[in-house]
């Protein structure tokens, strides 16, 4: 075990997978930095410091710094994958999926199906997402709900350094396309990371806290908030079963349903706006498959149906928070 930050776990995983497998390559804007400048290459190594030193070790054929052309980045990753490589493409902000959605949604996600199972497209797209930095409406979004709706891609959301390593290793080795969502506010989170080969298969939730009164399902940045809420509720003797789903597609329905069968109550915490969200998706699934077990309406804690506002006061009012989760749990428990 080594203690490190999520951003370090990501960088180390990319580095070791690139050493292990010569077909792994990476593309993105400023992932080297300084190209074509007096300062020279490696001036930045990724604005999130998740690619520092990779260009020096692996060179320009495998670490490709690109122009500001997201469609070309994702499209190139798609083509390289069809041609036998394992590209990792970085979207500096997940919000930029808007300019390259077609390459993700209509190309990468559909190749194998359209081609009758005769191709594979092992692309990993790393998307830096989430609010909390006052980065305003176009640099703060929780895009994963929209992507979860798309057949053909897997959607992964690590919340701890160990999960970042295990899930990213799986993502790079996976033969299907993977969207890997990294929350900008989680990069600095520290934790123990297993040494050596460490792979977490997709579709397996992680139980964060055990508790018998209510099931709280969360993902990404929301998991920490759910934990805080659970801590507070524990003081009143309320036991929360907190589940980090880790991948929204595939979804570990079993873990969620088992928990709800026991608790009879569900609160889903999701950073995306409510309509057609992962939260709504999980509530609908549970209402359909664990109807008899439910003692109260399945509830969700999400931002409102609005863009992410800029100002500090607005952004905190917008985001889910431990007090909002506590309130939701209490009203679910109070339901008769």
């Amino acid at each position: 075990m080594t203690r490190m930050m999520i951003r370090e776990a990501i960088l180390e995983t990319i580095r070791s997978e690139m050493r292990r497998d010569p077909t792994v390559m990476m593309l993105g804007e400023d992932i080297v930095g300084g190209m074509g400048t007096a300062g020279g290459p490696e001036a930045i190594g990724g604005i999130w410091s998740t690619s520092t030193g990779l260009w020096e070790e692996f060179g320009s054929n495998r670490i490709i710094d690109t122009p500001i052309s997201e469609s070309a980045i994702i499209g190139s990753a798609a083509g390289a994958a069809l041609a036998g490589k394992r590209p990792i493409a970085e979207l500096m902000f997940a919000d930029f999926v808007g300019v390259c959605m077609d390459q993700i949604w209509n190309q990468i996600a559909k190749f194998r199906y359209m081609f009758g199972g005769k191709s594979k497209c092992p692309v990993v797209i790393r998307l830096v997402y989430g609010a909390g930095f006052n980065a305003a409406p176009q640099h703060s979004q929780a895009v994963y709900s929209m992507m979860t709706s798309m057949p053909g891609v897997k959607v992964v959301m690590p919340t701890t350094p160990a999960d970042a390593k295990g899930l990213l290793t799986q993502a790079i080795r996976d033969d299907d396309p993977v969207l890997f969502f990294e929350h900008k506010a989680l990069y600095g989170v520290k934790g123990e990371v297993p040494d050596g080969d460490y792979v977490i298969p997709f579709g397996h939730a992680r139980q964060v806290r055990a508790g018998e009164h209510v099931t709280i399902v969360a993902m990404g940045m929301m998991v920490g908030l759910a934990e805080k809420a659970a801590d507070q509720l524990a003081q009143d003797g309320i036991g929360c079963d907190v589940i980090d789903i880790r991948t929204t597609s595939p979804l570990d329905e079993e873990a969620i349903l088992d928990s709800v069968e026991m608790t009879g109550r569900l609160v889903v915490v999701d950073e995306s706006p409510p309509r057609c969200s992962v939260a709504a998706d999980i509530c609908a699934m549970v209402a359909n498959k664990a109807f008899a077990a439910l003692k109260a309406p399945p509830a969700m804690v999400t931002p409102p149906h609005t863009p992410v506002p800029f100002a500090r006061e607005l952004e905190s009012a917008y985001l889910p928070s431990p007090p909002k989760i506590v309130d939701a749990v209490r009203s679910v428990l109070a339901y008769r």
């Binding site: 980045i73 190139s76 990753a77 077609d102 190749f111 199906y113 005769k118 191709s119």
Partner: protein, 323 residues
């Protein structure tokens, strides 16, 4: 002209196969047996064949909605394609993709594509893969004149120059994007190749209705790109003999336009005239090929008709490798 007799026969066979495949589809579609949208390649055969005759199975191409010609020229199997277009379980894509989505990775054919412009960056990526391997292989993107107004195409060209990717952008200018002429839609209509040049890459122009001009030009282009000089572009002047899709009323055509094109710009006629006049092949050689091709297409249609439809359970397969 350094082509051997076998090469000439092969080139004609490939062009005739495309022609026959497409003419037959035109007839069959009119009967209502084939579902979906189909875009025929008739008239552009010399482009696909003149380009792909330089490529091996480990060179990669990406294609468009009008992809049958590219697929056949790249060696995708006729019967599998026909079955696919008929929506059969025995089709190249098990009936899941249809006319617009035929691919055969083993042949280096990375896919026809229903989204205009989407293929260009994919060809860059395939070229970057080849560059990583350092094996002299290339990526090649076919696109239309219309596609050169889509943002992805431009991004791909710029990215190719920046990354020195061994990729070739072939623009088949057939003078129409759906129902619109390039003189309207492509601001620099007379010079699509000039756009590529503005991105800093070398560009060539050739007569896409002339197999020999296309083939000879492509030899130069391939030599240039395989030598590691980075990307290149080629604009091929060609003609589309049918509508944009089957069923298109073609009100945008001038009077007698198609008759004139068939008379003056038919690449098969031009090829025949050239090789017979030069005494390289006899009319009988070409007639034999045509007869053989006709039989092959007959068989392909018969087999496609007789082939089983995909089963409902197949809907759920091939979304993921594991999930």
């Amino acid at each position: 002209m350094q082509l051997s007799r076998d090469e000439l026969l092969g080139a004609y066979r490939r062009m005739a196969t495309i022609r026959s495949f497409e003419e037959r589809l035109h007839d069959e579609i009119a009967k209502g047996e084939i579902a979906g949208f189909t875009h025929l390649y008739c008239g552009q055969e010399a482009a696909a064949v003149g380009v792909c005759d330089h490529l091996g199975d480990d060179d990669f191409i990406v294609s468009t909605h009008r992809g049958h010609g590219h697929c056949l020229a790249k060696g995708v199997e006729v019967k599998g394609m026909m079955a696919e277009i008929y929506g059969r379980a025995t089709g190249t894509c098990k009936g899941k993709g249809g006319s617009m989505h035929i691919a055969d990775i083993d042949k280096g054919m990375l896919g026809a594509n229903g989204i205009v412009g989407a293929g260009a960056p994919q060809a860059v990526g395939a070229a970057l893969a080849a560059k990583m391997d350092g094996n002299g292989r290339i990526g090649l993107s076919f696109s239309g004149d219309g596609a050169c107004n889509q943002g992805t195409t431009f991004e791909a060209m710029n990215m190719a120059v920046v990354t020195k990717a061994p990729v070739i952008f072939v623009f088949e200018n057939n003078h129409y994007s759906e129902h619109t002429g390039p003189a309207y839609a492509t601001a620099t209509s007379t010079d699509i190749a000039g756009r590529a040049e503005a991105f800093g890459m070398k560009a060539w122009r050739a007569n896409g209705c002339d197999y020999f001009d296309t083939y000879e030009t492509m030899r130069e282009v391939l030599d240039y790109v395989r030598a590691g000089n980075g990307p290149a572009a080629v604009e091929l002047d060609t003609e589309r003999f049918y509508g944009h899709f089957e069923g298109d009323p073609q009100r945008y055509r001038g009077p007698g336009e198609i008759d004139r094109l068939r008379a003056e710009r038919d690449c098969l006629t031009a090829f025949r005239r050239r090789v017979t006049e030069a005494g390289l092949l006899a009319d009988a050689d070409l007639d034999t090929i045509e007869a053989e091709v006709a039989r092959l297409i007959d068989e392909a249609v018969d087999e496609a008709r007789a082939a089983p439809a995909p089963t409902p359970a197949m809907v759920l397969e091939d979304v993921y490798i594991s999930y």
